[in-house]
Each structure stands twice: as C-alpha cells, then as structure tokens.
Assembly symmetry: C2
Homo-oligomer: 174 residues x 2
C-alpha cells in the first residue's frame, strides 16, 4: 500500500498506547528481559523510540522540507538510549514517549503536507536520496517492528516453560 | 524463566488492551491486510484468539484439573474464526475478546493453583503428556506471538513505501 498521511498517522498516534498497554506495571522480569547478550529489552527499546522522536523522524523531515542545498541527515545513534534513559523508570519512559509522540504527530499534521512535498528528498548517510514519503512510512514501519520485537523478547522468556508447544510457536525461535 | 501465575497472568490480562490500542478505529486497509494468500489479517487473528478463549486454554486446563482417566484434549480448530467471526465488526471482536479474557483470567485466579496442580498433566493429541504449567505458559506465549504477528502483518503493508530503508527493517521480510 502507498503511504498516505491519514493512514500512516493512525498508526503513529496509537504506538504509545500500545506500548503502555503491553508494558506499564509489568515487573522487570518482563521489561528488562532480553534475547541474549547485546540484544535489547523492552526498556531499552522504549529508550530507542524516544531518541527517534527527539533526533530522527521530525528533525529529518524538517531537513527535507527546508529545501536547503545540504539535506544530509545526521546519522542515527542506535545506542543513545543507554545514556539517555539512565535513572528513569519504565513508567517515566512511557510518559516521555507519549508526550513526544503527541507533539510530533501534531507537528506533522500542522505541515498539511502536499503530494509535492511528500516527494521532496533528503540525503541518507548510507542510501543517498530518499523521499519524505519514504521517511514517514519508515517511521510507521519502525514502530511496528519494535512492537513486534517487544512481544518477541517477552515471548522468548517462556521458551522452555512451554515444553513441547515450542514446535507450534515460531516466535520462540525467531 | 519459569512459569508462575502472577507473572503469566500479568501478560494475559494486558492482551485485550494491547490489541484494542493497536487496532480499534483503524481502517480495513490495516485490519484486513494480510501477508499474502492463506495468511491471516489482524481481524482473522482476533477471531482466532476468541476461539482460543472459548475452546482451548481454560477448557484444556479444566480437563487436566478434572484428574479423570481420560485427559485427552480436543484438537484445536485453527479455522473456526472464519465461521465464528462472520458478520462481526472488528470492534465487536475486540469487545468479545476483552470480555472472554476477563472471565477466563478470573476463572484462573479462582482456582488458586498450587505447585502440585501446575504439575498435573493432560494428553495433547500430538505431543502426549503436557503439564498444566506448560499449557498456561503457552497461553501467554501464544498471545505474544499473535501480537507480534499483528504488528508484522501491518508493517509489511509499507514494504514498498519505505524504499531503501527495507534493508534496515528486518520485519518487512520476516
């Protein structure tokens, strides 16, 4: 399906509620769980999403819309959350994410983007020219990918507890 | 991690809210989307979860707890939802799932299961002897697997729209 603002925004605005419904009030047995060394817990994933709200999606869209001579994006820091989440509870992070996302969705709506604007390009440090439409669709896909990841990380904590059912639940070995 | 009632139930009781947060109010472009022929949409997945509430988890636990001479489970009907969801809106299904799940979580709590009971076994049509603890852990893992599936099915609708970012979002090709 092609990206369009209404359909894409409908997902973006739901993500904070989805993650709050999944995670708020759970014990660290779930929220600090990982898939093994150097993999991310739901807590770390949430910090990563917050960093994206501050530093990635809207800032990159702004660079594209500036129509300036230099539309190179700042590379994404995939480890910023280990610094930025320090001392914050999971509940703090859920609140922070919800607030930043609401502001960013409001900013996006305030732009009243046209088809012409959605076709404007920026320069990705690795891919080269990318359109605003591709950037915004990726924002949505990135949310959904991390929701799936949170569910998968949690599911794997029961990999042994489910016994022979492991053969029926592909998520346990993904 | 080992299955225990409090930790497992905390996930079970969150699943209806998670799916409502993800799906309620979205257009069919998202909720009827699939990963291709013979794969399930979020709407179909929700019907499947409802069928499980009626016919699988608690009924199988009841068979185990009966301690009867015949503890064979009825095979699971993986296609019941195509019949049972007929004529119902997505919102209907979300409401039905929330109600059934709340009843089932209350039933589970009312049993005050002991370690001895959690170790009782039933007979799975394919696997043979399985414990009540394994059944309940699978209920949790099954929820999380389908939450991840809903997110994945939705994400894939933007597989082309994200352009070169597809290389960074493994969920698009999972």
């Amino acid at each position: 399906m092609e990206f369009d603002l209404a359909t894409g925004t409908a997902v973006l605005e739901r993500t904070p509620r989805t993650l709050s419904a999944m995670l708020d009030g759970l014990t660290p047995a779930w929220t600090d769980a990982t898939e093994g060394p150097d993999t991310w817990s739901p807590y770390v994933i949430l910090g990563h999403l917050i960093h994206g709200e501050r530093s990635d999606w809207i800032p990159r869209a702004t660079i594209i819309l500036s129509r300036g001579p230099d539309r190179r994006f700042t590379p994404y820091d995939r480890f910023a959350q280990f610094r930025e989440s320090e001392g914050k509870s999971l509940s703090d992070l859920l609140g922070e994410f919800a607030q930043l996302r609401a502001e960013n969705v409001a900013t996006l709506a305030s732009w009243h983007l046209t088809h012409t604007e959605l076709a404007l390009t920026g320069e990705h440090p690795e891919f080269g020219a990318v359109t605003l439409s591709q950037l915004l669709a990726t924002w949505v896909g990135h949310d959904l990918g991390h929701i799936a990841q949170v569910a998968r990380v949690m599911a794997k904590q029961y990999r042994d507890a489910i016994g022979p059912w492991r053969a029926y639940l592909p998520i346990m070995d993904r």
